[in-house]
Subunit: 229 residues, 2 copies
Amino acid sequence: MNSEKTAVVLLSGGMDSAVVLAIARGAGFACEALSFDYGQRHRHELEAARRVAAALGAKGHTVLPIDMRAIGGSALTADIDVPKDRDDIGEGIPITYVPARNTIFLSYALALAEVKGARDIFIGVNALDYSGYPDCRPEYIAAYERMANLATKASVESEAALKIHSPLSEMRKADIVREGAELGVDFAMTHSCYDPDAEGGSCGRCDACVLRLKGFEEAGMTDPLPYPA
Amino acid sequence: MNSEKTAVVLLSGGMDSAVVLAIARGAGFACEALSFDYGQRHRHELEAARRVAAALGAKGHTVLPIDMRAIGGSALTADIDVPKDRDDIGEGIPITYVPARNTIFLSYALALAEVKGARDIFIGVNALDYSGYPDCRPEYIAAYERMANLATKASVESEAALKIHSPLSEMRKADIVREGAELGVDFAMTHSCYDPDAEGGSCGRCDACVLRLKGFEEAGMTDPLPYPA
């Protein structure tokens, strides 16, 4: 079977992008997973990404070292404490915001798509739970897609338009949990916590852990990851 | 004087981006130069970028290591011979095309602009001499600017629109030479050759050398760089 279309799938190792990879595979795409080693403090994510790519049958998995530290400006890459026990998740722009992160990630995905002959890129942005991140909004993704269709050799030479898929965009965390469960995603393989020093891997108190746990709770399911008591 | 607006200027070490930096300085911007060490074979460019940034009074100069080799697909980063003595420069998409290169470069510039509080980005793309590169065209730059204005925290919080300046866009190489000479750019500091092994630094026969020499000739000036006899 050589008739599968190829897609590039941004894979962080978190829950959301694992579900996106399962969705892309379910839609019949041969998937080239792309992860970044961007000096993040939560490197557990990269190990999770490798497990998830293998488990969900990605055709290839590229891990690109990119140096965001030279640019600075975020708790995920600079030496700022990861906030915990916040009661204002989703309001304003969080300290964990990384400048132009999705723009940089999508740009590498675009380059890899060109080299692999893919005209489809999947990204797990979510406009509801992450409303504080400008580069998770549908209007941003649409503008990126328009730009990408003018950016590359394939955009000049190919008949097929380049498409940026963001299937989670309008889903609540609970819907993402349910969708992943239906598609057979093993959530025990994924990693969400922002705190690199969390015992057992997950602190249960940073924004990422809180949103994840809330999602499982609302879906009426149990998160298979271990959390501190 | 703290009233200068800050701009991020993409600086390759080549002739064009040196002229762009001089234009941005002439327009009164405090300039944060940004160069990339992207595994290119013509690393002479980076040394040239450092000289040019200092000589033209850039406020800062960030050199970001980025790994394009993991993605591959071009004579500038992969192990493909640099073409020489071509008689079809400007026709079709050249082998020296790097997938999504300007998209990646501009994305890092956008991140640096956010961190430095800049709302202006300068890039030395040229739509005439480099018509084969899709990501040098004005419609691409306009689409990038629209996307960038939806991409970042500043785009949400700031009144000022983010502007991508491409002052060389409609200029012929000869015009760029003249403009640079008027603004006092020392072209002896710049480096254009694609061939990393060229004796004395410049082969005189690759696309970059041929376009550069033609520009000086048409401007009625002499390129100060040494070339093989």
